[in-house]
Amino acid sequence: MKPLEPVIEVSHLSKTFRVAQRDKSSLLSSLSSLIHRQYVQIEALRDINLHIRKGEVRALIGPNGAGKSSTIKALTGILYPTAGSVRVLGVDPWTNRSRLASELGVLFGQKTQLWWDLPALDTFYLHKQMYSIPNRTYQANLDYFIDVLSLHQVVKKPVRQLSLGERMKCEFICALLHEPQLVFLDEPTIGLDIFSKEAIRAFVKKVNREKGTTFIITTHDLSDIEDLCNNVTIINHGGIVFNDSIESLGTYFSSRKIVDIKFQKPIDEHELRGYNVMSFSGMAASIEVDVERSPLQIELQKLLGIGLIQDININNPSIESVIKDIYSKPREQSLGTF
């Protein structure tokens, strides 16, 4: 089978910022910065290597300040890199920014590109002009998105009268109206209720499936990642610390298992000493077992001896705990992991 063509190829990408810094928060310090200002070099990105194939839905995650936004800005040609090379849809994004822009869609969950006082339809029409979308394509796409997102009446109301969920759906139309090959979604479900989140996720899956659009999603909502993404790239301290499939993330701690156990009668927490107890509520406990240190069979036998058991489940550690563990690693350790 022919491998899918790469959409993004990044190698050894680094970006350093020169940032003014003031040690003290005093008036004197502010005044002295007028004459002499201290600068520090911030290594926002270091040695990023990334390959994303056509049709992927890739999560790009990391704690605040990890370098996600800088990576996206470098991929879209907004920031010039200090070192390294980037090819997006076969071109260098800095020298071909305007040309590449026609193939890119971007949605910022915390910023709007809709005209606040006017119906969303007006902004869509402005987009049509900006992207020179042919009439027939524009109308077909608009009808398709309005149908899929059930926005028939919504797009006719002034944007300021829309709910956050409705507004976000309109933002999606703006990002996709010109049929981009590659779409960046920055916190697409932030602040949305569960129904709106589901609608947005179903929409992304449908567009990905039917139009083959590649999506890169940055989010702090792990359910977005679990529901939508094939692959996950975790960035921390400016570098990639995990870059694999969502399944691999689930089995990241292959030696650790979580045993959820429910007893028929309450037990004393003291009886679970020696175990890594994640949670305990008298009749139920969640215990982490390191199967490299002691086989799971032996650990289960020991647990069965504590009391009569009503139910028992053995799971891999949750993706949330895996990500938390990866995020909490200090700089040198975390970059050395990958």
Binding site: S69, T76, G77, L126, M130, D186
Partner: protein
């Protein structure tokens, strides 16, 4: 050329949206128009007072000065309609890190910025200027030929080119310095030199206003065109410098973009 056509189209559609928005807040629009008309009438009255209380302006009689004021208001009106919202838009854009949004559009970001300056309130000033110009032409009994109209339009066009150059420089300064309130005030004061007849300035300043900083194209040249006092050589030099300044400002823009660091994500 296709890019310019696309940007002009974008300006047209953005302006249409701004008009739609202005119509949603009719009261604010009407107040804005009224205020613009009132303030516009202050200029000619002030000029009249200065002219009658002093020795006047060398080479200009009262009726010609009123024509000059009409041209000034006409030009200010055009400038406000085309670029009135620009400074606020650019400052907001850079300070909030929203320039990123424009950098990923298929047209050049500076073009989109310049196409976003439409302000409907300039219409009041433009109307006032047109009325005063019409009145003065009639009062002076001027014969306006097609050639004069052509030169008038050409001067207005190059005035816009010069203003584009200044706006691009302004945008560059905001990218580099982020907050430039006072610097902007200084620039506004200097551009004010273009709002008076060249004849009132010293020889050195006169040369500067025709060559290095050709602010004479804004009001002096269109007024001279209507008064049939056009100087080909002088205008050619100024027009050339306007184009040169536009080129320089665009080079600055490219440099600034390389320095752009965006805001935190």
């Amino acid at each position: 050329m296709r890019t310019v056509a696309r940007l002009l189209r974008l300006f047209y559609y953005q302006s249409k949206l701004k008009i739609s928005r202005a119509m949603m807040y009719r009261f604010d629009f009407l107040i804005g128009m009224t205020v613009a008309l009132c303030f516009s009438s202050i200029g000619p009255v002030l000029q009249y007072l200065i002219f009658t209380q002093t020795k006047g302006f060398p080479g200009w009689n009262l009726k010609q000065i009123i024509l000059f004021q009409g041209v000034l208001l006409f030009v200010l009106g055009i400038r406000r309609i085309l670029f009135g919202d620009l400074h606020y838009f650019v400052t907001e854009l850079i300070q909030k890190g929203d320039l990123d949004r424009l950098l990923i559009k298929p047209s050049p970001a500076i073009g989109i910025i310049l196409a976003s300056g439409f302000n409907l309130n300039g219409i009041g000033t433009l109307l006032a200027g047109s009325v005063i110009m019409g009145y003065s032409i009639h009062a002076l009994d001027l014969t306006i030929t097609a050639g004069a109209i052509g030169l008038f339009a050409l001067s207005i066009l190059f005035g816009i080119v010069l203003f584009l150059a200044l706006e691009i420089m302004f945008t560059c300064a905001v990218i580099v310095l982020v907050n430039i309130g006072r610097l902007d005030d200084i620039v506004q004061s200097i551009t004010g030199f273009g709002e008076y007849p060249l004849s009132i300035f010293t020889a050195a300043l006169k040369i500067a206003l025709v060559t290095f900083i050709p602010f004479a194209v804004w009001v002096n040249y269109p007024a001279e065109a209507l008064l049939n006092r056009w100087d080909n050589g002088q205008a050619a030099v100024s027009f050339l410098v306007c184009m040169l300044l536009l080129g320089i400002s665009l080079s600055f823009w490219k440099l600034c973009l390389r320095r752009y660091t965006s805001a935190g994500g």
